[in-house]
Amino acid sequence: MLEAVVNILEQDILAALEDVKDPEIPVLSVVDLGIITGVEIKSENEVTVSMTPTFVGCPAIGMMQKDIRKRVEQMGFAKVDVVIDRSVAWNSNMITDKGREALKNFKLAPPPKHDGNISLEMLALAKCPNCGSSNTSLRNPFGPTLCRSIHFCYDCKNAFEQMKPV
């Protein structure tokens, strides 16, 4: 076991963290969500993972911290710290392209990329994840979780959700 640990690189830990999903969006890994800001192997049995929350009041942070710790412990590390990194403020542009694809397949519209300026107009630009139409309207900037808004598609007549740009 020890030998295996010695050969593990930081990128291997990142790859393993692909298994840890956002509990509110179970198709999206914490890596694709863009919340992992650092992995540091401190010794052969000690690792520190840094993460930054999506929303300050996100109730899933504690659960994700626990899931990340568990996954890295499975790799053979005895001491795993998962720390909140406040020096990096998460924004929705940090979601990877793979993550955006996963969101779409989950029928959750990925957040439009932005330059830091969020307006009602840009929120209203949601593309329907069911039929791809842009003929949609914003119904509510707030949805079932802090990170989602609710929209309606005039073409396929479905309500859908979008992960909010922040």
Binding site: F55, V56, R86, L120, R139, N140, P141, F142, G143, P144
Partner: protein, 254 residues
């Protein structure tokens, strides 16, 4: 670094966020339409998250107790929230107008704090600002819907709430004991500057409506909260808010 000045600033911000967050949550299950129920619940969740993050700075950097104890186990006189956030939710127009006035002030405050020389606050401000943007979009949408479109009745209700709430909103900007220190050390540009920015922003939003800011006879009518003097509404709110956690301490098991 001026610890007492920073502590005072963070404490009032955290208390404002906690108390308005609790008030927002009172619409849960009662808002006029389900979308608004969800909106007020989400805003409440954000605000309480912001309060938590601010109390956490006090806990980690200034030796205060942990966020839960700050929120639930202090006495009324130790709170530094303004009267404006303490008022009961009233009717929906009242809560909407308060949400509009309060969130514009918060947004301006965090915009100013992004450049704070106190790094933990500057970092948090960058993050929180993005979230409050959504609160603003919500408030501005409804101010326009009910204050420009809508009906005569909706205009009249919104105007009447604005007349009542605007003078009290000025209590948000009651100066603290360390305004000069905060400005001098580039921690925060001060309540006077904040109020100026806020007035400009709300005036811009109100220009899209039929609503008019009322004349204010006494701009200090909502003062007192920052010094620990509160309205009769705060004590029952704290009692209700801390009922569950206090019953746990008393031995209740779930």
């Amino acid at each position: 670094m001026n610890a007492p000045a920073i502590k005072e600033l963070i404490l009032k911000m955290a208390d404002d966020a906690l108390i308005i967050g609790h008030r927002n949550s009172e619409w849960n299950g009662f808002a006029p339409i389900i979308e608004e129920d969800i909106a007020f619940a989400s805003i409440a969740q954000d605000k309480i998250g912001h309060a938590w993050a601010l109390y956490k700075i006090l806990h980690e950097h200034f030796g205060e107790t942990d966020p839960d104890r700050m929120a639930f186990f202090r006495e009324e006189k130790d709170f530094r929230c303004c009267h404006f956030v303490e008022l009961p939710i009233g009717e929906y127009d009242f809560s909407l107008v308060r949400h509009f006035l309060f969130d514009h002030a918060e947004y301006c405050r965090y915009e100013m704090l992004e450049h704070s020389s106190y790094e933990p606050l500057a970092q948090l401000a960058k993050k929180i600002k993005g979230e409050i943007k959504y609160h603003l979009l919500h408030a501005d949408t409804w101010i326009k819907k009910l204050g420009a479109q809508g009906s005569e009745e909706s205009h009249a209700r919104m105007q009447s709430s604005l007349n009542e709430l605007y003078p009290l909103a000025l209590g948000i900007f009651e100066p603290g004991n360390f305004e000069n220190e905060l400005m001098g050390e580039n921690i925060f540009a001060g309540e006077t500057e904040l109020q100026k920015q806020w007035l400009e922003n709300i005036t811009n939003s109100l220009n899209n409506t039929n609503l008019k800011l009322p004349e204010v006879k006494n701009p200090r009518i909502g003062f007192g909260g920052r010094k620990g003097f509160h309205t009769e509404y705060l004590r029952p709110l704290i009692t209700e808010m801390s009922e569950v956690i206090k019953s746990e301490e008393a031995g209740t098991e779930w």
